[in-house]
């Protein structure tokens, strides 16, 4: 009993903090209540639920040799200190997702997002990450696709592979769109990001020929370069001759990014991808740590209401749709992210020293990612809601000048004046902050607020804003480059099923696969950039649906494995969150397809436009019949993709039920894990 006492106290503290968060009405509460509540929830959940899943549900066995022990080679398979591996795994799962989703979700107030992030991570997200890590660890560190093939059959494996590729395409498009929205018409931001390309190449040359392997050294050099670029960026933005060279429209940036993705993904990795990944990884970890420290020091009050009217009406300007199911797909990473299943079945399972380390790494690192999401939500909520909505609503609602935006946001019920908007833009060194959708600029304004409170005061705000933009753009560009390469290999695998020539991927076939991959995400990026509603509106729900759908697939795999291990009495641990995600993504997918409101449903939107075409009428935002045709085609492709995602989930669900029933009919375990006796040899 005495060993449980501190945990009971912690649970009570957490409950009290959550009580304050949930019941405060009318007065602004301090951000630290949310932070304290979240930390208590994480610690208690890890100690009781995380370890329960590891020890009782999965039955980890510290005596059983892991792949790192059994196949030790000092290269891919290396038994690694668990604290070191925690850092590795966390760095691999933390990306832009947990920072952007919560910012977008803040349009409903901070309460729904906070509750979903906490409940989602404990009951779904961390469970998924741990279970996939566990399953892969028992099978020599195989990848998610191979695991599904192994446990559910070749057809299910191929279906999952198709789904994963489609997700990759949408992720790349939405990430690229965030960069476009952050850098358009911003010479300061564009200049600093442009500098990272030659800077990374210099670093690449340095580690290739001058000091091979000196990662720390070259990263410090790179960091100094980045800071100089931010400082000098201000002069560029203020110069009448240089500023126009770095000022681009969204469409120009869109084609620039597509060209960049195509070229960067075929360059040797040591030249651009690897060195920039050093910078983006360390900057990301540093910025997350700084944000945590900054929030604690500043202890800001939350200015966003706990609930806005959009939580009830579902008619918010940032994204359309009711709280259920759309909140649960808008906050993906941070609560539960299917993409993590790919990471947890990647390098991490090959580096685990003992099965006993798996809950700390699988469950624990996901809790940490969730803490990042909580910080992003806090950051968005400390801003004046008027500024938040002026930055995140589409220009179709706001117009483009401060006066029209202030009037529109005030009419929504968040009073703000034009001078405040203009002043905020000036403070962060931008011409305008109106309709800078995508979440990243909002987060950057909030980070500038927090960082400048701690270091430098308001004079440093513009520096910190561009630091935050750079940090987000940097790892998104790395993801675009790395994702295009990964997508290319996925596509080669898929095409290889039809024609083995593609599997080799040498010469023409490799180029063709890269081209197809870039064209695929480029198409959705262009569609998002030219969308009068800002694109985030369309693409983020598609991304959320696909990412949560992959999580559902991973949790269904875990359920199958528990059945085949003859541990089906514990299968509720994975089956319940899987069912919840199937429900959310299924409902959201069907609503995106068939909802009668053209703002939500793709087919209703298409019908409105095709009717107008039949009448010979041009509907805004289209300006010509050709544009009408393009909008129609976009709607139909989005609908098709949505249907594809639904089909993948339905198919995997059928295979799950079938495999579980087959497993029940057999009176012994049927899993294909490396047996303990073989593992011990």
């Amino acid at each position: 009993m005495t060993r449980h006492l501190p945990w009971i106290v912690l649970a009570l503290v957490g409950a009290a903090c959550l009580g304050v968060v949930a019941t405060a009405r009318g007065e602004a509460i301090n951000a630290l209540w949310i932070v304290a509540a979240a930390l208590s929830v994480y610690l208690v959940a890890y100690r009781y639920y995380g370890l329960y899943i590891a020890r009782t549900v999965a039955g980890i066995d510290p005596a059983r040799p892991t792949p790192a022990v059994r196949r030790a080679d000092g290269l891919d398979y290396v038994a690694t200190d668990r604290r070191v591996l925690f850092g590795h795994h966390f760095a691999a799962i933390a990306g832009a997702g947990p920072l952007v989703g919560p910012v977008l979700a803040a349009q409903m107030g901070y309460l729904p997002g906070t509750l979903w992030i906490l409940a989602g991570v404990v009951l779904a997200g961390a469970v998924q990450d741990f279970m996939v890590l566990f399953i892969s660890m028992r099978r020599d560190g195989r990848s998610l696709g191979e695991l599904i093939r192994l446990e559910m059959g070749a057809v299910a494996g191929t279906i999952a592979l198709v789904g994963t590729f489609a997700i990759m395409v949408i992720i790349l498009a939405v990430l690229a769109l965030i960069v476009v929205r952050a850098l358009a018409e911003s010479p300061w931001g564009m200049f600093t990001v442009a500098v990272t390309v030659p800077l990374a190449m210099l670093m690449g040359a340095y580690t290739r020929w001058i000091r091979p392997g000196a990662i720390g050294e070259v990263s410090v050099i790179g960091l100094v370069g980045l800071i100089l670029a931010i400082v000098f960026g201000q002069s560029v933005a203020e110069s009448a001759t240089l500023a126009p060279l770095f000022t681009f429209t969204p469409v120009q940036l869109c084609f620039g990014l597509i060209a960049y993705g195509a070229v960067a993904s075929v360059l040797p990795v040591w030249l651009l991808l690897a060195p920039r990944d050093y910078l983006s990884t360390f900057l990301k970890i540093g910025a997350i740590a700084a944000l945590a420290i900054g929030i604690v020091i500043m202890a800001p009050p939350l200015r966003m209401p706990a609930l806005t009217e959009f939580a009830a009406t579902g008619a918010g300007p940032v994204w359309a749709g009711p709280l259920f199911p759309f909140l649960f797909i808008t906050i993906a990473c941070g609560a539960v992210s299917g993409f993590h299943a790919l990471i947890a079945s990647g390098t991490t399972p090959k580096l685990i020293a003992s099965e006993a380390d798996a809950p700390f790494i699988g469950y624990g690192a996901m809790l940490m990612e969730s803490a990042v999401a909580i910080m992003a939500l806090v950051a968005a909520s400390i801003l004046d809601p008027g500024i938040y909505f002026a930055m995140n609503a589409p220009t179709a609602v706001l117009g483009t000048d401060p006066a029209s935006a202030a009037a529109a946001v005030t009419a929504m019920g968040f009073p703000i004046d034009a001078a405040t908007l203009a002043n905020t833009a000036r403070e962060v060194g931008e011409h305008t902050i109106i309709s800078r959708t995508g979440g990243a600029p909002t987060l950057a304004v909030a980070m500038a607020e927090i960082f400048s409170h701690v270091v430098g005061g308001s004079a440093m705000k513009a520096f910190w804003y561009h630091f935050a933009i750079l940090f987000e753009a940097l790892f998104i560009l790395t993801a675009v480059d790395a994702g295009t390469r990964a997508g290319r290999f996925m596509l080669q695998d898929l095409l290889g099923l039809a024609s083995p020539r593609f599997r080799e991927g040498e010469g023409v076939t490799g180029w063709a696969a890269t081209g197809l991959c870039v064209a695929a995400w480029g198409f959705f990026l262009y569609q998002g950039v030219t969308d009068p509603l800002g694109g985030v509106n369309t693409l983020w729900p598609l991304f959320g649906i696909s990412n949560q759908m992959l999580a559902a697939v991973a949790l269904m795999l875990a359920t199958v494995v528990l059945f085949r291990m003859k541990r089906q009495r514990f299968a509720w641990v994975t089956a319940l969150p899987a069912a919840w995600l199937v429900l959310c993504t299924g409902t959201a997918g069907l609503m995106k397809l068939f909802h009668p409101d053209p703002k939500t449903g793709f087919l209703a939107h298409a019908a409105r436009f095709s009717d107008a075409v039949a009448r010979g009428e041009v509907l805004a935002p289209a300006k010509s019949m050709a544009e009408m045709g393009r909008i129609l085609m976009n709607d139909r492709i989005d609908a098709g993709l949505c249907a594809l995602f639904l089909g993948v989930v339905a198919a995997i669900l059928v295979y799950t039920v079938k495999t579980c029933r087959d497993a029940l009919r057999v009176d012994r375990p049927t899993v294909t894990e490396i047996p303990a006796w073989a593992a011990a040899e």
Binding site: A91, G97, Y278, T281, F282, F339, A479, F543
Partner: protein
């Protein structure tokens, strides 16, 4: 492993390197010496290049 005896700085440095996919060179050399004394280990520079290609060649294991 034996890293429980490592200094905090050494462990942080190792964590940072592994975050970008670079395993410990000394551990690799020790492993080869202990289990495959007949093989010539890669030099530090060769090891760096080999691991860099292994990590990033297929994309780089990054999340959204």
């Amino acid at each position: 492993m034996g890293s429980s005896g490592m200094s905090l700085f050494a462990r942080l440095a190792q964590t940072a390197r592994l975050m970008v996919g670079m395993p410990d060179y000394d551990a690799y050399r020790d492993h080869l010496a202990a289990h495959h004394p007949d093989r010539v280990p890669m030099t530090r520079a060769e090891f760096f290049r080999d691991r860099q290609q292994a990590r990033y060649g297929g994309g780089g294991g990054r999340c959204c």
